[in-house]
């Protein structure tokens, strides 16, 4: 579900209704008591607002539907007034927030749909299915727009892997299950997972983060929107049958904190079926291409309730559905259960009048059930029947547009000033030892263990895949490409939410520049704690400001996104974790420079300023065991100039490689540049910097490039002309050579490569991957570790 593009105008409550709610359904509806309201996660004043809007108390079915549509997950009640501050328009934007996905024009008659979404709490409770259905949901958001999904990216956060206590074993179990879940789903549907990021910190131990981003391509003229058609248009439910899984997934699981009892919520986690998803994907694209549909929407969070109400709302229409016509997974389901089910792989299609048969024929071909369940009306009502008897009847606007929206103020929490005033630890190990430790830290170490489980090459368009700064995909039939990345450094955001959020945007765009790509659009996934906690209130408001500042400075519209609150465990909230996905375009994919050095003897050049200190860095966390200071300073003007100069050098193929300096600083960036699969290159940069700040500091606006020695002067001249500092650090050494950096680092490159490659496999391989405690079954309901093949 998307945040509303514009907040609901504070319209007057709907007129007073008839005094009586629709009749109770054969004893299934009891009285609505204060306890029942509370169980549905609604505040007393929110319930009062419902009664005012309806002019009468709701019945239990209606209460359930209000509770999901007014949940944090669906209504963005604690975020949407702030989200409106983000820039949402731009020359390339074809569809901004408020639809299933944002869409931008990527040139040559092609458009790209993009969206990122969280599936954190389901993954905390059942990692394999939670992650798998997260991927399934985001793919549906993209293909409902008429776009064929061409790429998945993931952004994952877990507690530390190291250690043998139950908490660490559970962290490894969650990590393993989530990676299998992401992989199995995308692999089976046949969409390559081409990029992502994984980070570890203690704050995620009780509440991992699983964010999945999907990107699809479509012809600009083929865009389909999720809105109901003209009155009388038939409404069809397509895809999997509706069962009792996932009921209240969005309201009770996603919109509350996790605690010891959360594992009892396993029944609210949906079960994924990627094969049905593949059928639904093909059928939906055929339906979109046929022109027989007025609108299509995924039945995602809050299932049939939200999809039907939101489609009616966007069209300014009403809708009437008979839940007795749905194909059900089991008998005896009540309207309440049918409306709130979050069974996966289902789609709501509004056909053009008289064209329902065409939709049905396409579904038949793909062996997908398809049932006509209702029609669009002109009375603005959301009316639900069971075999002809009305069981719910409320204004569409009350459900979708009248949800409360809160804006709170909170002061800067005390921890911020305290950590900024904390001095760095006195004693530090020698630089060579620190570099070894850093490269073996799971946050810096190679994530090959993760992405080797993801099919990254299906569809035969992946020019640069996992492990590169940005993924690059060829646009079919052209020499052009799209570039994709997903980034976020939550430690920086925790220390300074405004600057940390801006740094995430800067890093993402810098990664695209390393692939020679011009950024077009951003999608954001905002993972925060309980919004009623003043600390979180402040973090969220500051992070939005940081996103706004960076997006405006870099000319980047936010076209879609997702907010995930309540990421807390009994140990407290997670670090504020805004994750940004950015899509860009490049004109030529052939002979694209890589993230790795290409040839011994090439000049290694740092573009951008030297870092001065290590505050807030992975170095301080992994080597010194410290968390203190401020996030690195960000000069958005300099950052923009660095992007322009790097993009130009890459586009003109003046450099053979370009790699962003991020976690681990310059030293890690240089080491990673040396690590080639055919054998690590050495580095001869003994005259390079030696102090910890320059080696390991995480100042932004820096890129390591390499070029033929004869080109170095030209590269430096280009930088000077752009007002960007740059200098030659040294040269690339031979394969199997030594890694020499500054006066103190002189280590065989192969040894560093082995540490970097081996860290995560050493922690994960040989460990039991079943559930480590009595918290539940180790096996997922559907084949827990599916093999198969592409």
């Amino acid at each position: 579900m998307s945040p509303p593009a514009t907040a609901a105008p504070p319209g007057a409550p709907a007129g007073r209704e008839g005094a009586a709610a629709p009749a109770a359904v054969r004893g299934l509806d009891g009285p609505v008591t204060p306890e029942l309201v509370e169980e549905h996660g609604l505040l007393p004043e929110e319930y009062g607002r419902i009664v005012t809007l309806l002019g009468r108390p709701p019945n239990v079915t209606e209460l359930g539907v209000f509770s999901v549509l007014w949940s944090e997950h669906c209504a963005y009640k604690n975020s949407r007034r702030l989200l409106r501050r983000l820039p949402q328009t731009g020359a390339a934007v074809l569809q901004g927030p408020g639809e299933n996905a944002g869409v931008v024009d990527v040139g040559g008659g092609w458009a790209a749909a993009l969206k990122i979404e969280s599936h954190n709490h389901p993954s905390a409770v059942e990692p394999y299915q939670g992650a798998a259905t997260g991927v399934g949901g985001i793919l549906r958001d993209v293909f409902t727009m008429g776009a064929r999904p061409v790429a998945i990216l993931d952004s994952l956060r877990f507690g530390p892997l190291e250690g043998d206590g139950p908490a660490e074993r559970r962290n490894r179990y969650l990590f393993d299950g989530v990676v299998r879940g992401v992989g199995d789903y995308g692999n089976c549907v046949g969409v390559p997972t081409v990029g992502g990021e994984t980070a570890f910190a203690p704050c995620y131990a009780g509440n991992p983060l699983v964010n999945a981003m999907a990107v699809g391509l479509l012809r600009t003229g083929d865009l389909v929107r999720a809105r109901a058609g003209a009155p009388g248009s038939p409404v069809l439910a397509v895809g999997a049958s509706t069962g009792r899984d996932g009921i209240h997934g969005c309201s009770l699981l996603a919109s509350t904190e996790l605690d010891e009892s959360s594992l009892e919520n396993r029944p609210t986690v949906q079960v994924g079926d990627p094969f049905t998803e593949k059928l639904l994907l093909e059928a939906t694209l055929e339906i979109a291409a046929s022109g027989a549909a007025a609108g299509i929407q995924d039945m995602g969070a809050a299932g049939l309730s939200s999809s039907s109400a939101e489609m009616a709302s966007r069209a300014g229409a009403g809708i009437e559905i008979d839940v007795g016509r749905l194909h059900l997974r089991e008998p005896g389901m009540t309207p309440y259960e049918i409306l709130l089910s979050e069974s996966q792989e289902r789609m709501l299609v509004v056909a053009q009048p008289g064209r329902a048969d065409e939709v049905r024929a396409i579904c038949d071909r793909w062996e997908l059930p398809c049932a006509e369940i209702g029609r669009v009306t002109d009375d603005g009502r959301w009316r639900v029947l069971l075999h002809g008897e009305t069981v719910a009847d409320v204004p569409v606007r009350a459900l979708v547009d009248e949800a409360p929206a809160y804006l709170r103020d909170a002061p800067e929490p005390a921890y911020v000033r305290r950590l900024r005033g904390t001095p760095p630890p006195g004693a530090a190990p020698a630089a060579a030892r620190a570099l070894r430790t850093l490269l073996g830290s799971p946050n810096v170490a190679s994530k090959r263990w993760v992405w080797r489980q993801y099919d990254s090459t299906v569809r035969a368009a992946t020019v640069a895949g996992p492990g590169a700064d940005a993924a690059v995909l060829r646009i079919p039939g052209t020499g052009r490409g799209i570039a994709l990345t997903v980034d976020g450094n939550a430690r920086h955001v925790f220390l300074n939410p405004r600057r940390g959020a801006a740094l995430a945007v800067a890093e993402a765009v810098r990664n695209l520049a390393c692939a020679g790509a011009r950024p077009l659009a951003l999608t954001d996934c905002l993972n925060f704690g309980n919004p009623y906690n003043p600390e979180v209130t402040w973090q969220f408001a500051e992070a939005i400001e940081g996103l706004r500042e960076a997006c405006e400075a870099l000319g980047l519209p936010v076209v879609s996104g997702n907010v995930s609150f309540y990421n807390e465990s009994p140990a407290g909230p997670v670090w504020p974790t805004p994750v940004v996905g950015v899509l860009g375009v490049l004109e030529e994919v052939a002979d694209l420079p890589t993230s790795r050095f290409r040839a011994a003897g090439d000049a290694a050049i740092l573009i951008g300023p030297d870092a001065r200190d290590t505050a807030g860095s992975e170095y301080e966390a992994a080597v010194l065991g410290a968390l203190r200071g401020d996030a690195p300073a960000l000069d958005l003007d300099l950052e923009t100039r660095v992007h322009e100069v790097v993009r130009g050098l890459v586009a003109e193929r003046r450099v053979g490689s370009a790699h962003d300096c991020a976690e681990g600083g310059l030293a890690a960036a240089l080491a990673e540049s040396c690590f080639d699969e055919a054998g690590a290159f050495g580095l001869e940069a003994a005259d390079g910097p030696g102090h910890a700040g320059a080696l390991f500091g995480e100042a932004p606006s820096r890129v390591v490039v390499s070029c033929a020695p004869g080109e170095a002067d030209a590269v430096l001249a280009r930088c000077a002309a752009a007002g960007v500092p740059a200098r030659v650090l040294g040269r690339v050494g031979p394969r199997g050579g030594r890694f020499r950096l500054g006066p103190d680092v002189d280590v065989p490159a192969a040894e560093l490569a082995a540490i970097w490659e081996g860290a995560i496999p050493a922690l994960m391989d040989g460990t039991a991957v079943g559930a480590p405690d009595a918290s539940g079954p180790a096996e997922s309901p559907v084949n827990p570790a599916r093999g198969g093949a592409a």
Partner: protein, 266 residues
């Protein structure tokens, strides 16, 4: 997308990869690519055939029962029917499969890639089986395979000993067969591709999935059915890192050029 180009960083360039792109037999041959509901490499295979030049590519829906007019058939990768039971186990009962079996027994060329290879073993057109990878994890990476037999209709564009870079992406790719079958496959030159390491040797380090004797692809007794786990159709574009796979499709297309009437019947 351009047609096949010589790949950068190829260990040893295929002898004539891409050379068949000029081949145009009288009455161009037609290669069918079967689309099962869960196929997801069918488009890639169709494109690889078209890019090879000299043959038409036609999508064949899995409910079709006749392959009349086709000169070769490709069973592409994917998860044909979800593969929840066992890869290829349900696909074996798709209506098109009986036609593929007839086509193969009459000598038509059949190429099974990844899931298609798994189906061919389930159908009994190739011996042995594909089981869970050693390590029990899905493996997606670029591997090296060595051409062990360049005298097949699928590999004649290569030289024996060529080392090619192909992507793999599978969870069930460990080839198993009894010792006698393996001995026989080797003796008859029916191990067509073998996984090798960076030095070109068939070592455990070069074996990504635990396949017996590093087997990556095998031929049937009659020499007209090939199954392999790696994806040559994803290695037909130098911009994607390898164009070593072009030789498979160039070989397939050139197989019809010498055969009168366009159909290659053994």
């Amino acid at each position: 997308m351009s047609a096949c180009r010589a790949g950068r960083g190829v260990d040893r360039a295929p002898a004539s990869a891409g050379s068949a792109s000029a081949a145009t037999g009288g009455g161009a041959a037609t290669v069918g690519v079967v689309t099962f509901p869960g196929s997801n490499c069918d488009e890639d295979a169709l494109r690889a055939v078209e890019d090879a030049g000299g043959a038409r590519a036609r999508r064949v829906w899995h409910r079709e029962t006749s392959l009349a007019g086709l000169d070769a058939v490709i069973l592409p990768g994917g998860f044909a029917h979800g593969d929840y039971l066992r890869p290829g186990a349900i696909a074996r009962f798709s209506p098109v499969v009986a036609a593929v079996e007839r086509f193969a027994r009459e000598g038509g060329l059949v190429l099974g890639i990844c899931n298609g290879f798994q189906m061919l073993t389930e159908m009994g057109l190739l011996p042995g089986a594909l089981t869970r990878n050693v390590g029990l994890r899905f493996r997606s990476e670029v591997v090296r395979v060595r051409v062990e037999n360049a005298r097949t209709p699928f590999t004649r564009a290569y030289r024996e000993g060529d080392v090619l870079r192909f992507p793999i992406a599978h969870g069930d790719g460990a080839y198993v067969a009894d010792e006698a079958t393996l001995d026989r496959l080797e003796a008859e030159g029916r191990v067509v591709f073998r996984y090798v390491d960076a030095g070109g040797d068939a070592t455990p380090a070069g074996n990504p999935n635990g396949s017996a004797r590093n087997v990556a692809g095998i031929l049937n007794e009659a020499g007209n059915v090939l199954g392999l786990m790696p994806h040559p159709e994803r290695a037909c574009d130098a911009a994607l890192g390898s164009s070593d796979g072009c030789g498979v499709f160039a070989s397939l297309v050139s197989a019809f050029v010498g055969a009168a009437g366009g159909a290659a019947r053994a």
